[in-house]
Structure formats: C-alpha cells, structure tokens
C-alpha cells in the first residue's frame, strides 16, 4: 500500500463511475441509470460501429462516436450490449441531438449513461487518464478544493460556499457546540435516508471547539467518504483562523473602548475643574464616544460587573461583551478598574427611584449571564451627564466588589452599601493570618469562641453592652464581665486606635464560621 508523507494510506481501488462524474473531468456531464454508478471503470473503449459492441469487456467505459452515437436506437443497443457484457457505463455526446428517451432504458437496465458536452474522443482520453490513475482524480478534486478555499479567504460563509462548489451533491454545514447551524445548509443535518455523513471537528484556536463541519452526501461510493473528509479537513484551518481573527478583533475593540473611557473620564475631571468655555478638553473624546453610540444624556445610571470571588477563569471579557449585547439593559460594556462597566440613560426620575429599575434589569441580565460567566453586579447613580460619570462608575464598581463577595447573580446598590456589606467584601483568606496574630492572646484564652463573638457583637453595636446583650441573648452584666476579661487581655473596644483593626480581625475570623450576625 502506498502511503503519503503524512502516513495516511492511499486507496488504490479502481475508479467508479460515480467518481468519474463527481471529479468533474467530463464537461457538463449528466447521468442516467445512476443505480449502476458504483461500478468500477477499468478501461475505455471507443466504439464507432455496432458490431464492435459484441466484443466489450467487463468494467469498460464505452464511448460512442460516429453513427453509433447518432441515433437513439444505436445508443439503446449499446446500452443493452453494455448491460450484457457488464460494461461500466456508456458515454455519448450531447451534440448528436438525441431525445432523452434513451435515458429511460439506462434507468431500466441500471447501466449509467453519461451524456457529455464535449468531443467524445477528448472525453475518452480523459477517462483513460482517470482510469490509469484513480487517485490522481481524487487528488485533483482535493487540489481544486484547496484552490477554491484559498480564494474564499477567512470568512465562514464563503468557505462553506466553496465547499459546496467543489463537492457535488453534498450539503455541508458548520454547527456550533449546541448543534445550531452557524453557516451552510441545514440539509446537512438531515437524518433521512442512508446517505453518507462526515463530521470534522473545528477547533477555535484557543484549545476549545468552535463547532463541527458536517457534510451529507447522496453518494455512498467507496472512497468518496475519504475524499469528502480530506476536503473538509482543508476547510478547518480557514474556519479556525476566521474564528481567531474575530476574537482578536473583538479584543481589540474592547481595549480601544477601555482606553477611550479612561481618557473620557480624565478629560471630564479636567473640565470640571476648569471654568473655561465648553470647547475645552475632552471634546475629542466625547465625539468619539458619540460615534460609538455611548449614552451621554443624563441622568445616567451605572452598572458594574465582576466575577464572583474564587470563580475567576480566563478573561471573560469577550463572552461578557457578546452576551451583554443581547441580554444587558443597554450601553457599552467596558473594562474599568477590574470590573466591566456600562451606563445607560434613564428617564428623569419623577418620584420613582431609577436605581430600582436598574437593579431589576441587572438582576435579569446576570441571571442570563450565569450560564456563561458567573458574575455579580453593582448599580449606582445617577449622574447628570458624562462629566459626573466617573464617581458614579466608581460607586458601581465598589458595589460590584461587595456583591462579588456573595453568590453569582447578586446585585448591590451603591447607595445602600452598609458597613457589614463593606466588611463582607474584605478578602478574608488574605487577612485570616494577620487577624490571628492580632488576636492571638484572645484566641489563646478563648476556648469556645465566646469572647471573640462577644467582642465582635460589641463592636458591631457601637460598644453598647446593653444592645450587645440582646443580640447575644445574655444578661448585660455577663457582657460587662466578658468585656472586662477581654480588656485584661489587652483589647479595648473603646480605644479608637484599636477599634477598626479589632473589628476587622473579628470579621475575618468569624466569616469562616458561618455566623449569622451580619
């Protein structure tokens, strides 16, 4: 068995009639009697006299010329003799002007009748060369496909068109990971009949899968599947490149937007401090923002999105941007200060709280996003114009940071962040070590955690023992006694210089215990 440099075996079987037709070597060929197209062609015989039909060999392509090709009855006799001698097919030129009734006999006998547009002798030569090197024909088709794909360039639709042009009687589709058709013909996914189906995986260039190329052909000829697979294989690289290119483009767009937002906010800050006429700094940036369709008319509400803690994966930016465009409440999604921010013009508030609507919209959007990227969000507002967007975005980012400490999909309003919410945003894992050092004497004396919990509640309650006793469900004197013990260990909740550190340390240490004090 011959092997290509790639090591893949070459099929050495003889050419079939179907391949002869599919390879497009015969100009304008039409076939009747297709039920016999699986027959192998091993030789060619040019016949110009009916007497010669008596000496046909099996598996011969019988090319009719002269008088034998001229009349319907001679072609019918040739078909009959071909049938009797197990010849592969009968080839006749169209220019003889014969009516189509001969095709009915070809269908009846199951002898392929190939009607061509060219000179029969030329056709005979081409068939002979195809017969001599059957693999050359297959290679020619693959080469043709390579040329067509090169011409198509990096574009999914054009790649699929090129595949359809070179693969006769074959439907091809590019399906996504959820089996939805991204490009090509839906017929490729049909499950009817016993036709041939070939599937080739298309990677996305980042180690993932872009989808699958599915080809469905009416032909089940030996070797055809391999040819189709070869041709589809040629299309994989352009499709992967197309995908990577699109992603690169998307990323570049994201970076450009990020930069523009920074410049815009910086310019706005300058403009706020500058009392000069309007045509000052930031004009260029505002024009660019307007060109991108960024909302500029106040009041503006700001959204910020942030992956929940511990769930940060590879850059979710492209996916977020893509999904945001369809499910988000509106506006661009731009990377900003570790978050992705967006803002939206809302109708001037008349009694209603614009942030209520914004929270609801963002909650819906995050629910839709959850399947792709687990994020939490914050909303803040409202800004009167782009000039005051900076602080509002900062609020939203802060709120998103708080929300990200919780579950995916949670939304926090920038104007309702309590101290507890702020504290809960503290990175507890990082601070657990220092907290244990700070409270080490207390922890050493505190066997059951009572002292730590008492200290935390007292600090939460603003150092008021009565309120703390209610929370803890003990007598006020008990709280006072525990406080005395704590003070004796060197920790004073009333000492302003200690209070923040103590409170933070308590939070950090208690956060892992699932306490319900928040």
């Amino acid at each position: 068995m011959v092997t290509r440099p790639t090591g893949r075996p070459v099929r050495e079987g003889a050419l079939t009639v179907a391949e002869l037709v599919q390879q497009g070597r015969l100009a304008g060929v039409r076939m009747s009697g297709a039920s016999g197209r699986g027959t192998e062609v091993r030789s060619v015989r040019i016949v110009d006299r009916t007497a010669a039909l008596d000496t046909l060999e099996p598996h011969t392509a019988v090319v009719l010329t002269g008088r034998v090709a001229a009349a319907g009855w001679t072609v019918e006799m040739a078909l009959r003799k071909a049938w009797e001698h197990a010849a592969a097919c009968v080839v006749v030129t169209e220019s003889a002007g014969r009516p189509g009734s001969v095709g009915a006999l070809a269908d009846r006998l199951g002898v392929p009748l190939l009607v061509i547009d060219e000179d029969p002798l030329d056709a005979a030569v081409r068939i002979a060369s195809a017969v001599a090197r059957p693999d050359a024909g297959r290679t020619a088709l693959v080469a043709q496909a390579a040329r067509a794909l090169a011409d198509a360039g990096l574009h999914a639709g054009r790649v699929l068109s090129a595949l359809h042009a070179v693969l006769p009687s074959t439907a091809v589709a590019l399906t996504g990971t959820a089996d939805e058709v991204l490009a090509g013909r839906r017929a490729a996914l049909s499950v009817e009949g016993g036709a041939l189906t070939v599937r080739v995986e298309v990677p996305d260039g980042d180690g993932g899968s872009l989808g699958t190329l599915v080809a469905r052909s009416g032909s089940r000829v030996a070797g055809w599947e391999e040819t189709v697979r070869d041709v589809l294989g040629l299309a994989v690289a352009p499709l992967t490149a197309w995908c990577a290119l699109r992603r690169l483009d998307d990323e570049r767009t994201g970076h450009r937007a990020e930069l523009l937002l920074r410049r815009l906010l910086k310019a706005d800050a300058r403009a706020l401090g500058d009392d000069g006429p309007g045509a000052g700094p930031g004009e260029e940036e505002r024009a660019e923002a307007a060109a991108l369709g960024w909302p500029a008319r106040g009041p503006l509400v700001a959204y910020a999105l942030r992956p929940v803690a511990g769930r940060e994966g590879p850059d979710p930016g492209p996916a977020l941007r893509a999904v945001w465009a369809t499910v988000g409440p509106g506006g661009p999604l731009v990377a900003y200060e570790g978050c992705w921010v967006a803002w939206q013009s809302v109708p001037p508030a008349e009694g209603a709280d614009p942030l209520d609507d914004a929270t609801r919209h963002l909650t819906d959007a995050l629910a839709a996003l959850a399947a792709y990227v687990p994020v939490a969000g914050g909303v803040a507002g409202t800004a009167d114009s782009l000039l005051s967007l900076g602080p509002v975005l900062a609020d939203a980012c802060a709120a998103a940071g708080v929300a990200a400490a919780g579950d995916p999909g949670s939304v926090v309003r920038g104007d309702r962040m309590g101290a507890a919410q702020l504290l809960s945003a503290v990175p507890t894992e990082l601070l657990r070590g220092p907290a244990e050092v700070v409270l080490a004497p207390l922890l050493a004396a505190d066997r059951d955690g009572t002292l730590l919990r008492t200290l935390a509640v007292v600090l939460d309650a603003g150092a008021a023992p009565t309120a703390a006793a209610e929370v803890l469900g003990v007598h006020r004197n008990t709280v006072a006694a525990r406080l005395e013990r704590i003070r004796s260990l060197g920790f004073d909740p009333d000492d302003a210089s200690q209070r923040l550190a103590l409170h933070l340390a308590c939070r950090v240490l208690l956060s892992g215990d699932g306490d319900g004090e928040r």
Binding site: T50, A70, A71, G97, L105
Partner: protein
C-alpha cells in the same frame, strides 16, 4: 393450395381487393379505386383469370413479371387506357422473340395485386399464385428473382399516353434508367420485366401470396391476419414518438416510390422522415420497446436488444377490436397497440437476401454488418 380458388372471377376479385389492403396501412384510396375498376373491366371483358400454382409452372417457356412504377397519386390523376399492360407484354415478347405463357406479380399488395389480374386478363394469360417479394420493397430489383439470379432487364415500360420504352441493361442499372423515365411518362407506367422460364420462376417465386390475399379478404376481423403467420412482440402503450434530427443516422432519401405497396407512401405525399416510436409493454416484463421507422418499421428493440428487423415486416396494430394496421406517421402517444412481426420469405433471410432488402431500403448502411 387446397381450398384456394383456381380462378379469379368478379367475386374473387373483390375478395382479393379487400385482402390486398389488409397490410396496406398507407394506401391511397383513389389510386386503389382506379386499379380496381381497371381489373373489374378486364375480367368483365376477357373472363376470369386462371391461377397457376407454382408446381404447375414447369414446362412454361416464358413467364413475365408485371408491376406499376411511379406514383399512385399520378395513377388517380392520369387514368389508364387499359391497353398499357398488353402493349408492355407485347413489346417484351417482340424483343425476346417468344410468347409469354404466364404473368406473375412483383408484389401482391394494394394496386399491384389488381394490376396483375388486369394484365393476365388483358393478355389472356394465367396468373401465377405467388409474387417476387412476399411483401413490399421499394425498388424494382429488390425481389426474390434477383436473388435467384434473374435480371430485371430487359424491361418494357408502357405509359398511359401510349408510349412504350424498352430498357436493356448490362445489369444493376435498371433502377437508375427507369427512374428518370417516370416523370416523362406522366407519373406512372406499367413495367413488364423479369422474363424467365417457368422452371426458374417456380424456384424463385414466393408462393401462394395471391390466394393468401383472397383468404384474408374473406376473413372476419378477429382472424384477419390468420393467412400470415404473425408473431406477437408485445402489447403496450405508445409513450413517445420522436423524430431524431441527425444527418447520418439514416440512408439516402428514397430513390423513388413505387405505387401499390402497403407500406410505401404515395409520392408526393408528405416526405417521410425517420421516426422512433417508443412503446411501454403493459404486460409481462414491462419491457421498453423502440420501433425505428422510416416509411415502415425497420427495427424493433426490446430493452435495447433487437427482436425483429427488416426484411421481416414489423406492424403496429391498434389494440382495439378491429385490429387495424396503424401507419407509423399516425402513431401518437397514449394509443394502446400491439406490435407484431410477419416473417419475410426465406429467401430474404440469406445474407444476400438481407443485403438486397436493406441496400435500397432506408436503414443505416452500416447496419448490414450488424447482427440484426
């Protein structure tokens, strides 16, 4: 010839007239009526014609063959005088220096069957029960006599205007010589030819064709074709009629048309053209039949394999109760038909016979070498 009438009288003549039309799908009615009137008048004037069986021919010194040449349409326009047959026979007798002992028809179909009766009656000679074809072929030299080595020439031609032309040919050129004479003669003429002794005629004649036509003239429609040994090819429906327009699929145009044939179309009727009649068999194997015709059906293919070919006669019969022969030119898709074959006389099935039958006929030249 048991049961065959020995004489053709007025009554038998009518039966012969009817029977001679059975296979003549395309005969011109007016020309046929003229020929019938001629034969009626001759029999009425000279009495019944005696029929000679081929075995009675031995001992006869000179037998002559009679046929019409030219167009049957012209026969209907330029009426015969009734003297043409006698003048032609006498001219040949003068040339050969012998009296004719019997008359034989070149073929026994349509006008030619009646002409031979008229000729025999006019000359007071017996008519041989047989002919030189057994069917109809378009050329003078396409006869079993030619196959037996008898030359058509010398030939005497009598025209309705009273002219007599005698043609002597070194051989093989009779057709070429006679053809140009026909228009000058007024479109048709009586030809007397193939002069030969009775013994030679007995060995080359297709026997019994006159009595066969008489029997067919008395048959009921059901067994109309009983006198011929029909072979049925198929029963089916015409699915298409095609006229392939190729320049070399068929031979040269007809040399010229002779009147009286059952399958020859009277000149100058519409020029016939190659026609393919496709028939889908409605019983048995459901085969795909293709009938290749030019004037008459020359070849029948079943699923591409030849099942019948000229010189056997391939006929398309309508499948209705009257079983009429359907002219190829009148075949239309959708008609239910029966395709039958009437075998040609054995002489035609020799290689020489096939060659002669097809050489002047309308089939492709190279088909001579083919198996069919």
């Amino acid at each position: 010839m048991s049961g065959a009438p020995l004489r053709v009288d007025a009554a038998v003549l009518e039966q012969l007239a009817t029977g001679s039309l059975v296979l003549a799908a395309g005969a011109a009615e007016s020309a046929f009526r003229v020929a019938l009137d001629w034969a009626r008048a001759s029999v009425a004037a000279h009495g019944p014609v005696r029929l000679l069986a081929p075995d009675e021919l031995h001992g006869l010194r000179l037998c002559v063959t009679v046929t019409l040449v030219g167009s049957s349409a012209a026969l209907a326009e330029q009426l015969p005088t009734g003297a043409e047959t006698v003048r032609a026979v006498r001219a040949l007798e003068r040339l050969l220096g012998a009296r004719a002992d019997a008359v034989v028809a070149l073929n026994t179909a349509g006008e030619n069957a009646l002409l031979s009766v008229a000729a025999a009656a006019d000359c007071g000679l017996p008519l041989v029960d047989g002919d030189g074809c057994g069917r109809v072929l378009p050329l003078l030299e396409q006869s079993t006599f030619t196959l037996a080595g008898v030359a058509a020439a010398p030939l005497a031609l009598a025209t309705p205007s009273g002219d007599v032309v005698v043609v002597e040919s070194a051989g093989g050129r009779v057709e070429d010589l006679v053809r140009p004479l026909v228009p000058a003669a007024g479109g048709w003429a009586v030809a007397v030819c193939y002069a030969m002794p009775g013994a030679v005629l007995a060995g080359s004649v297709v026997p019994g064709t006159v009595s066969r036509a008489i029997r067919a003239g008395t048959a009921t429609p059901r067994d109309l074709f009983a006198p011929w040994s029909l072979r049925r090819l198929c029963r089916g429906r015409i699915t298409a009629v095609e006229h392939p327009a190729d320049e070399h699929g068929y031979g040269a145009p007809e040399p010229y048309e002779r009147v009286g044939g059952p399958d020859t179309h009277p000149w100058p009727a519409l020029p016939s053209r190659p026609t393919s009649v496709l028939v889908a068999e409605t019983e048995g194997l459901g085969r795909h039949f293709r009938l290749e015709a030019h004037n008459e059906v020359l070849l029948a293919l079943a699923d591409g394999a030849p099942v019948a070919a000229a010189p056997d006669q391939i006929l398309i019969l309508s499948a209705s109760a009257d079983r009429r022969v359907l002219d190829v030119e009148r075949a239309v898709p959708g008609v239910e038909v029966e395709v039958v074959v009437i075998p040609a006389a054995p002489a035609w099935h020799t290689p020489e016979g096939r060659r002669l039958a097809r050489a002047g006929a309308v089939g492709p030249q190279d088909t001579q070498e083919d198996s069919w």
